[in-house]
Amino acid sequence: MNVLSCSINTLIKEGLYEISGVEVGQHFYWQIGGFQVHAQVLITSWVVIAILLGSAALVVRNPQTIPTDGQNFFEFVLEFIRDVSQTQIGEEYGPWVPFIGTLFLFIFVSNWSGALLPWKIIQLPQGELAAPTNDINTTVALALLTSVAYFYAGLSKKGLGYFSKYIQPTPILLPINILEDFTKPLSLSFRLFGNILADELVVVVLVSLVPLVVPIPVMFLGLFTSGIQALIFATLAAAYIGESMEGHH
């Protein structure tokens, strides 16, 4: 009995844990000021930012009236983002396109970099490189930005009258309406974090069990969900902004 439990313990502690190579909660820390930051997230975020800025700068360096291939692609992306913003926000979507576009592109490229780039080739002293959205700090930051954005949108559009939406349609709903302001960033951040982390975990676990072929369908699934999650995050952010800007009549 003792032996069995001991072996199970060993299996769980060393075997399974290390087979999967899953290092949830292990981070490569940097000390900046009084803060411990997750360096692997910063590094991959920088890479993602570099990809985005570099490709955009490279492509629109010499804009043409009749778009060349790269410019055509970027304009197509921009059109897509504008379309999403317009659908969700409505008439005054113009000033919010940069914000929604930044959210969408950053999350999308982060997710796809996690699913497509061989991050694990580069080895860190501790922890491992993965998609920035794999870390809850990133997604919470993005979700809080969204909260700030929709508060700003509502307040700048309607002034203090914005808060009258908390007692509509009846004052009884006041607690629920206030609760909504907390659940919105919570659900946004946890949805994105959970999906990406789950995708990567599934892939990593499958790779550690069967290294070849078998993970490929799951990786495609991961690509698909990654794209969907980026779209969902951007759409919901736009929807929240639009909701706080629309008039309750």
Binding site: S20, G21, F73, L116, L124, V207, S208, P211, L212, P215
Partner: protein
Amino acid sequence: MKNLTDSFVYLGHWPSAGSFGFNTDILATNPINLSVVFGVLVFFGKGVLNDLLDNRKQRILNTIRNSEELREGAIQQLENARARLRKVETEADQFRVNGYSEIEREKLNLIDSTYRTLKQLENYKNETILFEQQRTINQVRERVFQQALQGAIGTLNSCLSNELHLRTINANIGMFGTMKEITD
């Protein structure tokens, strides 16, 4: 059991401590699957994306062509409108010049005719004055004549007496006698 776990440990061994470096474990880093996924993505995604982008480009080209055609049409219309404006302006100038000369002529005519009418009126006036003068003269003459006649009648009536009669008759007889003598 120990062996098994050892092998597991070996299989999943992850050098977690240390510094930056490259993980050369080809199975753990998963580059094969990633390249397959990437290849499939490029292979299928490229066609779809190319179609999409080609469509977009074609649409942009069509839009540009359409707007250029519209622009050319608009320029044509502008030219036409300008030509018509020029034509109308010259016509207006002509009309204005014609109108001025017409007005001048009308003025001259009017002055002329007024002058003539004035002259005629002057003539009438003169004639009337002359006529009036004539009539007044006649009247004065008539009155003077009448007064003279009346004076003569008065004189005659006052001076008529037998002596005068006789004298006159005698004078006349003497006159006739001399006249007879002369004729004889």
